[in-house]
C-alpha cells in the first residue's frame, strides 16, 4: 500500500489530501476562495494565485497532522500540473517539487481532468474500465471514454461555455452571486421546470457535442422580460441543462460499448443531474456511478488518487515538469469548431 500526498491549486480551491493506493482517505482539507472572488463575479487569476500561496502550506501541515503521518512516510507527491489558471497551478506544483526533492519521493504531475475522470474509482471499488464519463465542471464539459489510467478518448466537448460556467452565468443573471451552481439548484427546487420555454442547444444533432451559450442568452431574456418568477427560471434552466446532458450522453453511449456510465466534475454535485443520468444509464442497460458531492467539486483526494494509479503504472515526472494552462486529456482528439481552450 502506498500513501500519496495530493495537492490541488488550479482554480479557486486550495486543497491537500493524503490517500492510499487501497482507497483510504487518511485526511483531506479544502479551502475555497469564493469570498475573495465574489465581488468580481468570477475567479480573478491573480487573487487566486495569491490565496493559494498563503493557504496551501498550512493545508499540507494540517493533513499530515490529522493523519498523524510524518512527511517521510509519504510514498509520492501528486500535484495538479494543469489545466487551469497557471499562476495558481504553479503554486501547488512547485510546493510538490520542493517536497519531492526534500523527501526523495517521486513527483507525479497530475492532469486535473484526469483527477476528475478517475475520481469515481476512489469511492466505488466495483467500477471497472472502460467507462463512459460525462465530465462537467466549471471549465469543462466533455464526454470521454475512460479506457484505463492515462488512456482517454474524447467523444465530445462543448463548443462554447462549460456546463458549470452556464450555471454560474445563470446565477449571476438571477442575482444569486458566485459560485452559482449550488444556488441555482437550491432556487430551482422551489420552481416549475416547465414554466419558462428555453432552448436545448444541439439536442438531436448527430455528434454528441454541447453548447450552452444560447441557453445563457435565453435566460437573460427571460430575466429581462419580467414575466417569470426567478425560481421558475432557475428550474427551467436546470431542466434544459439536464435535457442536454441526457440527449448528448445517450448519443455517446450508443457510440461506445463501455458497460458503465459515470458523471464527475462540479456539476455532478447537482441532484437533478445525477438522477437523470442514473435513469439514462438504466434505460441504456449500463451500470451507473457518481462520486459523492465533495469528490465532484475540486479537491485533492482525487489528485492523490490519480497519483496513486499513475505511480502503480510506473509513471513519475521529473522536477522540470511544466505547469500547463491547457492540457487536453485526449491529445489526439479532433479540433471541434468553436471549442477553443475549453476543449
Amino acid at each position: 500500500m502506498a500513501v500519496i500526498l495530493g495537492l490541488e491549486s488550479s482554480c479557486d480551491d486550495s486543497a491537500a489530501a493524503l490517500v492510499t493506493s487501497d482507497r483510504q482517505i487518511l485526511a483531506q482539507a479544502v479551502v475555497g476562495q469564493a469570498d475573495q472572488h465574489r465581488p468580481f463575479g468570477g475567479v480573478v487569476p491573480e487573487i487566486a494565485a495569491r490565496a493559494h500561496v498563503e493557504i496551501l502550506p498550512g493545508l499540507v501541515r494540517q493533513v499530515l497532522r490529522d493523519a498523524a503521518i510524518e512527511i517521510g512516510e509519504v510514498d509520492a507527491i501528486a500535484a495538479t500540473a494543469g489545466p487551469g489558471l497557471v499562476g495558481g497551478v504553479m503554486v501547488g506544483l512547485l510546493a510538490g517539487k520542493g517536497l519531492s526533492l526534500a523527501t526523495g519521493k517521486p513527483l507525479i504531475a497530475v492532469n486535473h481532468l484526469e483527477g476528475h475522470a478517475l475520481s469515481p474509482g476512489l469511492t466505488d471499488a466495483s467500477l471497472d474500465f472502460p467507462y463512459l464519463l460525462l465530465l462537467a465542471s466549471g471549465g469543462h464539459c466533455q464526454l470521454l471514454e475512460v479506457r484505463g489510467v492515462g488512456d482517454y478518448r474524447r467523444l465530445a466537448t462543448t463548443i462554447d461555455d462549460a456546463a458549470g460556467e452556464a450555471f454560474d452565468k445563470a446565477a449571476k443573471q438571477l442575482g444569486l452571486g458566485y459560485p452559482g451552481g449550488p444556488a441555482v439548484e437550491q432556487l430551482a427546487g422551489q420552481g416549475d421546470p416547465e414554466a419558462v420555454p428555453l432552448p436545448r442547444p444541439l439536442v438531436g444533432s448527430g455528434e454528441p457535442h454541447f453548447s450552452f451559450a444560447g441557453l445563457k442568452s435565453a435566460v437573460q431574456r427571460a430575466v429581462q422580460s419580467g414575466k417569470y418568477r426567478p425560481a421558475d427560471i432557475a428550474a427551467s434552466f436546470q431542466a434544459a441543462v439536464v435535457d442536454c446532458f441526457v440527449d448528448r450522453t445517450r448519443i455517446a453511449l450508443r457510440k461506445s460499448d463501455a458497460p458503465s456510465l459515470v458523471v464527475a466534475g462540479g456539476v455532478a454535485a447537482n441532484a437533478s443531474v445525477r438522477e437523470a443520468l442514473e435513469t439514462l444509464a438504466a434505460e441504456e442497460g449500463r451500470a451507473f456511478s457518481v462520486p459523492p458531492g465533495w469528490l465532484c467539486t475540486d479537491n485533492a483526494a482525487m489528485i492523490g488518487w490519480a497519483g496513486a494509479q499513475r505511480l502503480a503504472a510506473g509513471w513519475v515526472d521529473g522536477l522540470d515538469v511544466p505547469a500547463r494552462a491547457r492540457w487536453p486529456l485526449d491529445e489526439d482528439a479532433e479540433k471541434v469548431r468553436g471549442a477553443g481552450v475549453k476543449a
Partner: protein, 204 residues
C-alpha cells in the same frame, strides 16, 4: 547549511552557505521566464545530496509569478526537511550586488503597468533609506536621488532621470548573508508591492 533562493526577476538564483556563513556553491541563470521548470532542478544540482538546515527565500518585490514560484518551492522544501524558512528582500539582494562601495544606491526592478519597484539603501551595510515603492519612471526620477542605480530597471530610470550610473545587477542569492538581519528575517510570504489586477477571467 543555509539554502538561499531568489526568483523575483528574470534571474533564477540559488546559493548554499556553510559554516561561518561561507559561500559553498552558487548557481545563477538569467532565463526570463521558466523559473517553474528550472528552479528545483537547479537546487538539486546545487545541493548535490547535501541537506541544508535553514532556507532563505526572496519575497520580492518583483515578478508576482516569480516570487510565488520561489516561495512555493521553498515552502515544500521546508516542510519536507522540517527546517525553518525565512523571507529576504529581493530589492536588498540587488542593492547588495554593489558590494563594499560606500554611498547611496537604489535597486530598480520593472513592475506592472510600466511602473518600477524602487528602494534606496545606504552603502555597504544596506541600511534602508526609505520604504520600497512602485512608481512611474517620471515619479521615480523625482523621488530617487541615489547616484548609483542597480537592477533590471536601472536603465529605464536613468533614461527618465538623465543622470547617474546604471548597472544591470540581478538579485544574487550568493549575497543573501550580506543582508542586514531585519531584511532577511521577513515572513516567508510574498511582498507584492502592488495590489492585484482585479479583472475576472471571463466577464459575462
Amino acid at each position: 547549511m543555509i539554502l538561499a533562493i531568489d526568483t523575483s526577476t528574470a534571474a533564477c538564483s540559488v546559493a548554499l552557505f556553510g559554516a561561518n556563513e561561507r559561500l559553498m556553491a552558487r548557481e545563477q541563470e538569467v532565463i526570463g521566464r521558466g523559473h517553474a521548470e528550472r528552479l528545483v532542478p537547479m537546487i538539486e544540482k546545487l545541493l548535490d545530496g547535501r541537506q541544508p538546515d535553514a532556507i532563505l527565500v526572496g519575497v520580492g518585490p518583483g515578478s508576482f509569478t516569480g516570487i510565488r514560484v520561489g516561495i512555493a518551492a521553498a515552502q515544500g522544501l521546508a516542510i519536507g526537511w522540517n527546517i525553518p524558512l525565512d523571507g529576504m528582500s529581493s530589492l536588498a539582494l540587488i542593492a547588495a550586488s554593489a558590494g563594499e562601495e560606500p554611498g547611496a544606491r537604489a535597486a530598480v526592478v520593472p513592475g506592472g503597468h510600466g511602473e518600477l519597484f524602487v528602494q534606496e539603501f545606504d552603502g555597504p551595510d544596506l541600511t534602508q533609506l526609505g520604504p520600497h515603492r512602485s512608481l512611474a519612471p517620471e515619479a521615480a526620477a523625482e523621488e530617487i536621488g541615489a547616484p548609483l542605480l542597480l537592477g533590471p530597471g536601472a536603465a529605464t530610470l536613468i533614461a527618465a532621470r538623465g543622470s547617474g550610473e546604471a548597472r544591470e545587477g540581478w538579485p544574487d542569492a550568493g549575497c543573501a548573508l550580506d543582508l542586514p538581519e531585519d531584511l532577511r528575517k521577513l515572513a516567508p510570504k510574498p511582498l507584492y508591492g502592488r495590489p492585484p489586477d482585479a479583472k475576472p477571467k471571463a466577464a459575462v
